[in-house]
């Protein structure tokens, strides 16, 4: 099974200022799980409301697809440099 990236490194440097950020995604995952547990009752209420409109199936697919996209981001690297600007994004 695919797993989401554990760390994201974002480095942006402009002409005057910039920042270097390490985002520990693995620490955000328990937080996301907690939010999901909190939101779960609302989802359970929304399911019967949206059932006849056919949105339930689409919403479930969207959840799955978004999760798959996040998982597939592992290994992405963007490294762009011009005279004064520098952008580096990587997910490991």
């Amino acid at each position: 099974m695919k797993s989401p990236p554990m760390l994201m490194h974002v480095k942006i440097r402009g002409e005057r200022r910039g920042f270097n950020l390490w985002i520990p995604i693995f620490l955000l995952l328990p937080l996301a799980l907690a939010v999901f547990i909190i939101v779960a009752p609302l989802i359970l209420i929304a399911i019967p409301i949206f059932w006849p409109s056919g949105w339930r199936k689409r919403a479930l697919h969207i959840f799955g697809a978004v999760f798959e996209i996040i998982c597939s981001m592992r290994g992405i690297k963007v490294d762009m440099q011009s005279d004064h600007d520098y952008v580096y994004i990587s997910a490991v």
Binding site: E68, I69, S72, I76, M80, Q81
Partner: protein, 147 residues
Amino acid sequence: MDENKKKILEMLAENKISTDEAYRLLSALETEGSTSEGTPKAGTAARMKSKYLRVCVVPGLEHEHGGKGDRVNIRVPLALIRSGMKFTSLLPPEARDKVTGALREKGIDFDMRNLKPEDLDELLEALSDLEVDVASSDGETVKVFVE
């Protein structure tokens, strides 16, 4: 008869391809068959190893010395492309029609509704053979390849 050969002959019978094209396709199939006999699934295994689409732009020498020129190094996982393309099936039909219309306006006759998962795998497999290498007169090089 081999399924692929049968398909080619059917396409020829339906006048979808010319005799030359059919001959070329059949020859390619035979070559592929003979090479894969020695090392079974070697080509497929090599393609399966490809994991990233790389785009590199390296400025020319004069730019490097002058301190000018943009440098780009992008690595996109092929899995992300696959997931992104799967995401298109979730687009509402109205949005899909708009995208198809906009593509047609640009001269690209492509309908996303016709994109099936098996086509997607075939497309990504074909992408493994992609290699673009462009060098400009000032020494700047652009490379697009799969690794």
